[in-house]
């Protein structure tokens, strides 16, 4: 075995350039496959984090009927008790909200919006809404009926801070209510869809207009300090408030939760295809190596080298190519993933497209470690399969025919 290893190793260096071409192409293939995977995972992660931080939070508590029917009367069953509970459990951030659908209109345009009544301070610390106000200012206790609207909607409505917007919606008794709001500021969001849809007012103003008491809300959003605590906290709250419905982000946005799994399957598939293409390169190279060494292999068989050993030698040569290039490709990929994981890749030029997808312009590649092992396994298996054909070809050689003379 040792001498077979030695022969196989030396054989691959007989055609240095040819072996190097194969090695480099495997390195590049693995590197590209892994790096693209890390980039995709990063994109996905960022979308998830951004959705959790800016939009849905880790947990939301509602009236059990609210998710099917967002009518005004489907308030939280026990808002005051929930509020008390939030004051005792200070290791998370909370925001109480009112929510209703309505119309926003100016002289130029009118369209459907989701009107969200917030407590400005709570919302600022939970979703960072305050920091996303670009022009004008954030909501506070001053002034009458201030409103924050998204920059994209402002463009449609042709309003700027100081302008008036009319909001119309149904109150608790299904009467149509219209009220004039003064634009306090314009916010931006990574998602342009959200900028067009959501407007923020003070919850106290909305409660008055809807005819709801000032301690009643539709929604409690909770942002935990630790992602891993989501399930445990959801259960704890559900146990404490059996009349409310508690949902985690995975239930609120299942597409975010499944994305990781779907992504990893899709990426293994991509890497598989890359390796399939590379394995044809390997087959080609090894077949060439077998064909040009027909005579030599014939001699080996003549002097008594068994077919099993000839087969093993060709397999070993192929595996050496993979063992040389596989780790290098994986190391190169690891270095470039960890190198860009902190600085990120700036994709400012594609920012419009990314914004509507719900992510920022800098992507931070990230890859689960299991992926490196998975990729290594794919490389190993594909190379082994690629080795079989040339090795089988070597077995079929007939010593006399290969040598012509004895």
């Amino acid at each position: 075995m040792k001498v077979l290893l030695k022969i196989a190793w030396r054989n691959i260096w007989r055609h240095r350039l040819r072996s190097l071409v194969v090695i480099i192409s495997i390195i590049l293939g693995i590197w590209a496959g892994i790096f693209v995977s890390a980039f995709s995972f990063g994109l996905n992660d960022q979308r998830k984090v951004s959705m959790i931080r800016n939009q849905i939070s880790h947990l939301q508590v509602h009236n059990p009927r609210f998710s099917e029917d967002q009518s005004v009367q489907h308030l939280l069953a026990n808002s005051p008790k929930l509020e008390e509970w939030t004051k005792q459990n200070t290791d998370a951030q909370y925001a109480f909200r009112m929510k209703t659908m309505g119309m926003a209109a100016t002289a130029h345009y009118g369209g459907g919006v989701q009107i969200i009544g917030i407590r400005p301070e709570q919302e600022a610390s939970l979703t960072g809404l305050q920091s996303r106000v670009d022009s004008g200012s954030y909501l506070d206790d001053e002034g009458r009926n201030p409103i924050l609207i998204g920059a994209a909607l402002a463009e449609k409505l042709e309003v700027k801070p100081g302008s008036k917007v009319i909001l119309s919606f149904s109150d608790e008794e299904q009467n149509l209510v219209s009220a004039s709001f003064k634009v306090r500021g314009l916010y931006h969001d990574v998602s342009s869809q959200i900028e067009k849809m959501q407007v923020f007012v003070r919850s106290s103003d909305l409660q008055k207009l809807l005819g709801v008491q000032s301690n009643q809300f539709h929604e409690l959003a909770i942002l935990l300090q630790d992602d891993a605590q989501v399930e445990a906290q959801a259960q704890a709250i559900a146990a404490a408030f059996p009349n409310e419905k508690v949902e985690s982000w995975k239930e609120l946005a299942p597409e975010l939760a499944y994305a990781d799994e779907i992504m990893s399957q899709a990426l293994y598939f991509v890497i598989g295809i890359i390796m399939l293409a590379l394995s044809f390169g390997i087959i080609n190279t090894m077949l060439m190596a077998v064909l040009e060494r027909r005579k030599e292999l014939g001699v080996l068989m003549s002097v008594g080298m068994s077919k099993r050993r000839v087969f093993a030698m060709i397999i070993l040569e192929t595996l050496f190519l993979a063992l040389l290039s596989g780790p290098m490709g994986i190391i190169a990929a690891y270095l470039s993933v960890s190198g860009t994981a902190e600085t990120g890749l700036n994709l400012a030029m594609f920012s419009d497209g990314l914004a509507s997808y719900g992510i920022g312009t800098i992507i931070y590649p990230v890859l689960p470690n299991s992926f490196y092992f998975g990729t290594s396994a794919i490389v190993f298996i594909m190379t082994l399969l690629a080795a079989l054909y040339p090795a089988r070809h070597a077995l079929k050689l007939n010593p006399v025919e290969t040598m012509r003379t004895l």
Binding site: V3, K6, I7, R10, N11, R14, K295, E296, V299, L300, M301, S302, V303, G304, M305, S306, K307, R309, P399, V400, M403, T405, L406
Partner: protein
């Protein structure tokens, strides 16, 4: 006792519609310790005869018996093993393994036989010494001259302690000096160690040294004489 014995040995090739009788009903017996040359013009069937005796080719009819064993009945894998244990080969084009050094080439056969490292090393050294290449044993074939390579090939052929050595035109690619050296070595091994050599050759220098000459033409033995 005969080391090699063929009876009614034939090998027929199909060439389109016609049949070529490369070896035609040859009866031949080679005794232990002989130094025999098979001679004849190109295409006379010398090489085919050696291939059949060496178990590299299967006869169309007839038998080949080596040390009492009918090798024409062996299966592929059994033949490979039989060659490994009983037959030493020397090829016209040396055919050493290019990626192994002279010593490793010689050791390789013994390694296939499963001999211990110690045995291999000492025998390889001894054989390379016998062919006068002790100094070159760490060189690879590409670093050796043709004559030196062929001497390594002789050492390799002897490494497995074979019943006999088959050599197909061993001097065809060598100059006079190398040919003389090689023949001296083979002759010495034949005389001192009793090793049986069977050559095919055109080379007058080899013919002059051979002790038995078998003249083959059109696949048949035309003459067989000791000199």
């Amino acid at each position: 006792m005969s080391v090699i014995e063929t009876q009614n040995l034939s090998r027929v090739y199909q060439d389109g519609d016609s049949e070529i009788h490369a070896v035609d009903k040859i009866d031949l017996s080679v005794e232990a310790g002989e130094f025999t040359a098979i001679i004849g013009p190109s295409g006379s069937g010398k090489t085919t005869l050696l291939n059949l005796i060496g178990g590299l080719d299967n006869p169309t009819s007839g038998t080949v018996t080596v040390e009492g064993k009918p090798i024409h009945q062996l299966k592929d894998n059994e033949l490979i093993n039989f060659r490994l244990q009983h037959i030493g080969f020397v090829f016209q084009a040396y055919n050493l393994i290019p990626v192994l050094s002279a010593r490793e080439n010689v050791e390789f056969i013994m390694l296939l036989q499963g001999q211990s490292k110690q045995e291999r090393e000492s025998r390889a050294k001894e054989l390379l010494q016998a062919v006068g290449l002790e100094q070159q044993m760490h060189k690879r074939p590409s670093e050796l001259s043709g004559g030196q390579q062929q001497r390594v090939a002789v050492a390799r052929a002897l490494a497995s302690k074979p019943s006999f050595v088959l050599a197909d035109e061993p001097t065809a690619n060598l100059d006079s000096k190398s040919t003389e050296d090689l023949l001296d070595i083979m002759h010495k091994l034949n005389k001192e160690e009793g090793i049986t050599f069977l050559f095919s050759t055109h080379d007058q220098r080899v013919i002059d040294r051979a002790e038995r000459l078998i003249y083959v033409e059109d696949g048949k033995i035309k003459s067989d004489e000791k000199q």
